[in-house]
Amino acid sequence: MPSIELKNISNFICRDVNLKVNDQEFLVFLGPIGSGKTTLLNIIAGLAEYEGSVNYGGHPVDLIPTSERKVGYLFQDLLLFPHLTVEKNIAYGPSARGVSPALKNQRVKEMIAFLSLESLAHRYPRNLSGGEKQRVALARVLAISPEILLLDEPLSSLDFKTAKYLRMEIKRIQKKFRITTIYVTHNLLEAEEMADRVAIIHRGVLQQVGSPEEIFFNPAGEVVSDFIGKPNILKCDRCRILAGGLVEVECGGISIVVPHHGNLIKKIAISPKDIYVSVDEPPGPDLNRFRAIITDIITSGSLIKLKLTLGENSLTSELPGDIFETLGLTVGMEVFLILKFKWIRVC
């Protein structure tokens, strides 16, 4: 499968984007809505005008029309052809690409079986649920045996459970077919779950490219840091492996238990919104619960940011204004903190 290279790409949204997506890599375009992620995807597919050059596998494809590029593009909206049955939707790509009828039928059957669409094959899109439509759209894209897969927020309209299931399906497909893949999302957690590398885009400018850990622990500038929620990053002095994928780390005089398998932990990170603040001692086991002192209170729109001293560490917590009012917090007050175990990231 080819790599994708963008050289000095500019248009009405994007500004001088340079990026290389490696062969078989799963790259996620992450950024706020309207930042130019979809436009970049359209540029790669040949659906938008641009200046600069797009290369597949080292060869420029700027003059090759969309219909002749081996790109599978899954759009954000559920864009199945309404006048074709599921089976015919899937067969559309192979037919359009001149695949022989026998091979086309075989390919359609394979895709129907691969995505468990047997019972839906003769239905029209209007009789499908959102999740079913997405599976059909995915099958239709895969039926053309794409060398590059472009996925534009394909799960944004689905419920949590279906989206979670389909994320796993997409990862499975990407691994099985080893397709160079670009996935667009504005959801940080989705990006972390899916990506080999993440490319942060803001106002048409590529801000940072790296693994989710690199982005989270070394954000390149204020824009990236803002987007990922300005996490608290604590340096670990020591760590001790507990049973069952748990590690106890010591950071600035406090012990924190984190979920982790594998190597030693150098740093941990937790978002301000994932630090729970209470004036009363919370019930439950004494795990990742600490006493801290409020050193500053900053109002930021409808949110209140609390600066806290915890051992030798300075942390920031974030809570909605109405909850802040209810708790009656003031500078110098001692409060109880719970670090939400599930959302502690490590590197």
């Binding site: 593009y73 309404p82 559309y92």
Partner: protein, 254 residues
């Protein structure tokens, strides 16, 4: 297979039956002055039978039917072809859309005086009127249908490998069908209305001309027979295109 919904048909026919019964009663009970101008329904049916047996009705009906079929078919095909070209080609659309916008609102009968001078009074005149009556609406609806196809679906087809011709044939035209059928359905009925009017004004044969002859002889029963034929033909043509639309698009349209 067509499934009849007898309950629906019953409720559709009942008001017509009541109306015909009232009509018959009002005339028979002499509730209206001047019976001559208000023949009963049974008298109209008797006259219908006489006209059929004598061959007069069939002769005039066939003349009108052939004019409608030729004019409507030619106008619709021409409208469809030009509509596809204009809808699919941006340059053609930009060039000809202003002309279409100016010509489309002119009623078909508005062309009658100029066509009488250009073509003379003969068989070609009513066909030309029906052609115009069908051409512009079908053209307009085809252009609207093609240009109304979701641009994102076109992008999807392109990424799947479809070139322009395949895109037009397999995505754009099928999705424009509901609009095209709307044009055909409306104009199928309109063609009958226009042919009757044209025959009444300028052509000596056909159902419209028969009505004018009946009017000069004060034969209201014959006029009503002609109006009934017209109503049935308008209704049948419209239903035919509704049937075709459902057959081709009913399975997938919301």
């Amino acid at each position: 297979m067509i499934k009849f919904n007898f309950s629906k048909i019953k409720w559709g026919i009942l008001p017509i039956a009541v109306f015909l019964l009232l009509w018959e009663l009002v005339v028979r009970l002499d509730l209206l002055p001047g019976n001559f101008f208000f023949p009963s329904f049974s008298e109209v049916i008797r006259q219908f039978y006489r006209l059929v047996v004598s061959g007069i009705l069939m002769e005039n009906f066939l003349k009108s039917l052939i004019r409608v079929l030729i004019g409507f078919t030619a106008g619709s095909i021409a409208g469809l072809l030009v509509g596809v070209l204009m809808g699919w080609n941006q340059l053609l659309h930009r060039s000809f859309h202003p002309i279409l916008s100016l010509l489309y609102p002119i009623p078909a009968l508005g062309w009658l005086p100029i066509l009488m001078l250009w073509l003379g009074i003969g068989e070609i005149l009513p066909i030309a009127i029906i052609f115009i009556c069908s051409f512009f609406p079908v053209l307009y609806n085809t252009v609207t249908g093609i240009r109304g196809v979701d641009k994102k679906l076109i992008k999807v087809a392109q990424t799947l490998g479809a070139g322009r011709i395949r895109l037009l044939a397999t995505v754009v035209l099928p999705l424009a069908l509901p609009n095209i059928f709307t044009g055909l359905r409306l104009e199928a009925g309109m063609a009958w209305r226009v042919i009757i009017a044209a025959e009444m004004v300028a052509i000596p044969t056909g159902i419209g001309a028969l009505m004018m002859r009946a009017e000069s002889l004060l034969r209201i029963d014959i006029i009503i027979v002609c109006l009934m034929v017209l109503a049935i033909m308008c209704f049948s043509f419209e239903r035919f295109f509704i049937y075709l639309e459902r057959k081709f698009t009913g399975k997938w349209q919301n």
